[in-house]
Symmetry: none
Subunit: 217 residues, 4 copies
């Protein structure tokens, strides 16, 4: 049972760490506060994880696993479904994942993007690359065989951005209780719908361009 108790403490520390790192960032988060929230001893972070840095990495990995489990990348759409549907599934899943208040890894990732501590570089890369490959595959299918790799990459980048960034702003505003600002996303389903429409139209335009480019070449 001692083993079990250890697991519980570790779990509580990971949860508390995710929260505090999300709220304050790596530097402003203190080990003391994390331990207090986890109702653990001040030394338990170092006992269980060795350092604040390691806890940071583990907490992110933990959060990522949780949020991906709650919102699988395919959005519940079968692999056999048409590419449009599969893209819609991925985009909806991404939007819902980010909008979910339990999702913490995304914000920590963003922080890391802009103000890299370098601590998550490896962890993030190993987790993100597979996701990106999946999306690239669908985009490539939708753009058709004439599309260049660059076009595929640009489109994927645009599509992901359209899902991520508005939600980022949205959640930040909710957190900051900036209720005076117009809440951009008042209806998550409507937003997902909108983004999908926008994206499919964009993809179609690029596909047409690719065909013309092919013709010219």
């Amino acid at each position: 049972m001692t083993r079990k108790r250890s697991v519980v403490t570790k779990e509580k520390l990971l949860a508390a760490a995710s929260d505090v790192f999300l709220e304050k960032g790596y530097r402003d988060a203190t080990v003391a506060e994390i331990c207090a929230r986890a109702e653990a001893n001040i030394a338990s972070v170092n006992y269980h994880f060795g350092s604040k840095e390691t806890l940071y990495q583990e907490a992110w990995r933990h959060s990522f696993a949780q949020s991906i489990k709650a919102h699988p990348q395919d959005g519940g759409v079968s692999e056999a479904a048409p590419a449009e549907e599969r893209l819609r599934g991925q985009m909806t899943a991404l939007i819902e994942r980010i909008a979910d208040e339990n999702t913490k890894d995304f914000f920590i990732s963003q922080m890391e993007f802009v103000n890299p501590t370098g601590l998550l570089a490896e962890v993030m890369r190993s987790e993100f690359v597979p996701l990106r490959e999946k999306t690239l595959a669908v985009v490539r299918e939708l753009l058709g065989p004439q599309a260049t790799d660059r076009q595929v990459a640009y489109c994927e980048s645009c599509i992901i951005s359209m899902c991520l960034h508005p939600l980022l702003v949205h959640r930040v505003r909710k957190r900051a209780k900036e209720n005076d600002m117009p809440v951009v996303i008042d209806d998550l389903g409507a937003f997902a719908e909108h983004v999908t429409t926008f994206a499919l139209a964009g993809l179609a335009a690029v596909r047409d361009q690719a065909r013309q480019g092919e013709g010219r070449a």
Copy 2:
């Protein structure tokens, strides 16, 4: 001349502060390093700005003014030009502004979005709202009179995101020298072109939807 020297010191502090805040974030940036880079006395930050917080705000404002001046929002397109052209101008200007290595305010803004110190909230709001209004106006024009405010807002949000986020990732990778990762944006002009095509197609699709929605309503 003392007056002049004081001005010079202040200017150097602002420049150094932008750099360091960009590199390290608010918390990890130290007053000592900022002063060292500005070749100023350790006490000069407090002497000239009263506190690290104020310096942060001033440095951001300073950087923002510089980058907007270097890349005006309209992208050099006349107000008399057609809406498509004006949108293209705004998007290109935004992309170029963010891609410009001298642009520091954007990254600090992103940091602030994700890990708010709260110190820039006021400053950013007053600077961003006017820019957003301009973009909303063009988008509204392109979507036509049937488009709802929500549709306009969603589209604006998507378009801005498509410009911002890929460039964010791009600059982060360049800074981190992650040359093993595929550089998403290898040609700035091509990317701007691509994003515009994508966006105009998306807008057109939403406009059509709006007309149908109108018809149904």
Copy 3:
């Protein structure tokens, strides 16, 4: 068998403790490392010895007993041998004891001399006094009846120092692998020989002085 296992653990702890205390000193040696080297549980030090302090004392006593057993004080010289020979035996034994890589107590003693924890005071005194008495006796015999107690004490102190200190430096240098420094003692037998010659000559000089002092008095 459990009893036996316990004894083994205790023995391993003593051995590991001697090593670690020798390498790092009392303060820098950690209970964790000692237990790790002894392949014992982290709690076993307190379980078997009650405290780090007690382990320190026991480890020293253990090491001392071992090294004295390996190198008996008399150096194998019969009590019936002439005083010169008995002194030579004691000096050689001391030198060989200190030079022996298995001897750890001596270095811990030196540490204690200079930076006393106070923990070994009692233990060391009880072990050293008898050794010293033996040496004093031989020295007194060699100095003759005219020698004062002070002269005997001074000579004993010089003789012991001549054996101890050069070997201390020697082993320290070997440990530190300071191979660039001239290795003072390249031949242990030659050194023992040299020291004995030196000491006997010194003793003879002091004895002559003592006789003259007697004559004058």
Copy 4:
């Protein structure tokens, strides 16, 4: 005057550090206590020296310079004096230096010998080598041209040890107030005299041996 104040604080810190490091050793000495004794702020060690390690090195260097200045190596004996006198001068100076209650560097050196932190290796080597050279020169002169380098080295080592070690024990006992133990060195002058007699006799014996060795060879 600000500069002067800084120097005063630094000096006080060095003095306090020497004391505390001497009393407790590197590890058990706390920055807090050093600062308290120097009547300085807890942060002043890091401000003036950067770290506890650097302070340790500087404090030793400082102490060494002081004690060598108070007790010059030659003991006030002219270079023109006969070798016997010069050796006597060096030995007396060494004994008096170590016996001087203000001498702290010696004990820190001993600590470092036995339980090396590695922090003083460089510093000590650069200071000790010149002293040793001087002593070797006199010893070589006294042993005559037939003496081998090994004989010179062994003799020097014995002579220095005869001065150092008894005084080490002496001071440790005084500090520990082990008044029950026989105080070995009750008269410093007498001890210096004794050691010199002992050493010169030893040297003479070795010189004779060297001559015979020469004759045999």
